[in-house]
């Protein structure tokens, strides 16, 4: 009895869990010591970070600054009164509402269609494990490595012949296909590790391929599809080159193209370009705030394939 007591107590003394906890406590207090160098590093990093977002701040304050005040006090001063005229002039001048609607229609359609195509292709590759799937994927990869300049003139010819030139539909089809290549690539690897027991159980129950896709694969991959849809939406929103070439008329232009085509105009008015920038920043910022989590998750998903 007297012998077992100490041995019983001994393991408790060196209980690994408690020891780890104690060490963690020590670690934490040690780490908490910030020191002068800690603050210096923080200030340097924070200063760089603030420099990074300084242009956003400049766009914000100068978009609302009366032009005479800009000329008198320069770009850094905070406006003494809010002047919406530059923003309104830009907004109505290029009919920015129309551009927003165009961008929403195009980006929304591309996101959904591209995700649907990706799911179908990835189903064949990841679940169906069709023969030569590595080659199929390699060919699809071409779609997102090939520079769009090497496709653009033929696409211009083809869309003109098919009556799809300068239509939203033409751009939607083309961008959906291009983006679905990336989606296929990503989804195929996700579906490749799909739990086989689930699939087998469904097949034993007599589920057809379509039922497996629709009732099992689709619901279970919805989170990944959500990331894809978000990414496709934002990529399309930001896309510049193909919409620039294929949507020349102002009634079909997207936000990105409308802003990119501003060059030269408005430069005589010192606050006009700030207003234009702000108008372009706002929707992007809204998406960022809505999709922040998905985006951060997706960046990681996309990076480590």
């Amino acid at each position: 009895m007297t012998v077992t007591a100490p041995t019983g107590a001994a393991p408790e003394l060196i209980d690994p869990k408690a020891a780890r906890k104690a060490r963690a406590r020590v670690d934490r207090t040690r780490h908490r010591r910030r020191g002068v160098s800690g603050w210096v590093v923080l200030i340097v990093v924070a200063a760089i970070a603030i420099l990074m977002i300084f242009p956003f701040w400049l766009a914000l304050i100068n978009a609302f600054k009366p032009a005479p005040e800009y000329i008198a006090n320069g770009p850094i001063s905070v406006p003494t009164s809010l002047d919406f005229s530059a923003l309104i002039k830009f907004w109505t001048g290029i009919d920015f509402n129309q551009k927003l609607v165009n961008s929403v229609i195009i980006s929304g359609s591309v996101a959904l269609i591209a995700a649907a195509i990706s799911l179908l292709s990835a189903f064949a590759i990841g679940i169906g494990k069709i023969k030569g799937r590595v080659w199929v994927l390699a060919v699809f990869m071409l779609a997102f490595t090939i520079p769009q300049e090497a496709l653009v003139y033929p696409l211009y010819i083809l869309t003109r012949n098919l009556g799809l030139y300068d239509t939203k539909l033409g751009v939607i089809i083309i961008l959906s296909v291009l983006q679905s290549a990336f989606g296929t690539y990503m989804l195929a690897s996700v579906l490749g590790s799909f739990p086989t027991e689930v699939l087998e159980a469904a097949r034993i129950d007599g589920a057809s391929r379509r039922q497996v896709l629709w009732h099992i694969v689709f619901p279970l991959t919805r989170p990944t599809l959500g990331v894809l849809v978000t990414f496709f939406f934002i990529w399309t929103w930001n896309d510049f080159f193909l919409p620039l070439v294929l949507l020349p008329s102002s009634a079909n232009q997207t936000v990105s193209v409308a802003l990119g085509a501003l060059s030269g105009q408005y430069t005589s008015d010192p606050t006009a370009l700030a207003a234009a920038s702000l108008a372009g920043i706002l929707p992007a910022l809204v998406f960022f705030l809505i999709f922040q989590r998905t985006l951060m998750r997706g960046v990681n998903l996309g990076a480590i394939k």
Partner: protein, 310 residues
């Protein structure tokens, strides 16, 4: 494969015939119509003289012969190297450093919250459409009233004020600066995500052995982040070779040809001078270069991370 194939076939008796190939039809048709056929047409156009109207006239390799003697073509690829520096090399180097400082220095001392706020600030430029970033910087670079010159004058360095985008000696650096600003957020976020999968015990052990922050950075961080660094360098280098929108918005390749890139050069030939065959030749060469670089970097990466990330 050989084991599962028969059982799969047996099971398929329960399924309607046709296999899985049918599910590839939308993707394959789209790919043929949007990538394969257009690319084939582009290669054909590059062998012709075509002014956008009438019938393309076959001239063999003349466009390519002309291309290799064209100084603008060589300038455009030289500028691409500068943009690889600005979009791939600098952001990768800076991103690793910032990510390591945020993860291994700021977060333990000031909490995960402060490091994730800082990360978000670095990421913010990434959310902008490039066209918007272009407009914003064009406004800041504006020679008469732009912020950069105004600030230089305010601190008494007015002599350094330049027509940033309008001077052939400075335009390329001005564009590179915008690209660095745009790209850093991407690298910081990816590298921080990569660091979060590194076992903290590695850092603790190194610290106990007396390794300073910089030693830990060199020995642990850089080694552990090798897969991420490879992916980032590949994707950003390819993106740098294809860069178009910032050039279009900021300089249109000018002044002169000081900021021209292959993508803009081919666009210019297609739609401004309508030398379609010549533009197609530029685009074909660019496609070839991009593919070679992408495949080369990919092979290099798989050889170097063999058995590490598989």
């Amino acid at each position: 494969m050989t084991v599962t194939a028969p059982s799969a076939r047996r099971r398929s008796a329960l399924e309607p015939a046709g296999g899985y190939w049918g599910y590839l039809i939308p993707g394959a048709l789209g790919f043929a119509a949007v990538v394969l056929i257009p690319f084939g047409m582009n290669v054909y156009l590059s062998l012709t003289k075509y002014r956008g109207v009438g019938t393309p006239q076959f001239i063999g390799l003349d466009n390519y012969v002309r291309l290799f003697a064209d100084p603008t073509f060589w300038t455009s690829f030289l500028n691409s190297i500068a943009f690889i520096f600005a979009m791939a090399i600098v952001p990768t180097a800076f991103g690793v450093l910032v990510a390591a400082v945020l993860f291994d220095y700021i977060a333990p001392r000031f909490g995960a919250r402060s490091s994730s706020i800082l990360r978000a600030l670095f990421y913010l430029p990434q959310i902008l459409p490039i066209a918007v970033a272009g407009v914003l910087w064009k406004w800041m670079y504006q020679p008469e009233y732009g912020i950069i010159n105004t600030m230089l004058e305010a601190v008494g360095l007015g002599d350094l004020a330049q027509n940033w985008l309008g001077d052939p000696n400075f335009a390329i650096y001005a564009v590179m600066n915008v690209l660095i600003w745009l790209q850093i957020g991407y690298t910081v976020v990816i590298f921080m995500a990569g660091l979060s999968r590194v076992d903290p015990a590695l850092y603790e052990a190194a610290e106990l052995d007396g390794a300073g922050w910089f030693t830990r950075f060199r020995v642990i961080t850089l080694n552990q982040l090798r897969p991420e660094i490879a992916v980032v360098v590949i994707t950003t280098s390819v993106a740098a070779l294809k860069v178009f929108a910032p050039i279009f918005v900021l300089t249109k390749g000018g002044p002169g040809t000081s900021t021209i890139v292959p993508a803009y050069f081919s666009y210019y030939n297609f739609f401004t001078t309508t030398q379609v065959g010549y533009g197609a030749a530029v685009a074909t060469v660019l496609a070839l270069v991009v593919t070679v670089v992408a495949v080369g970097l990919l092979l290099f990466q798989t050889r170097n991370t063999e058995g590490f990330e598989k």
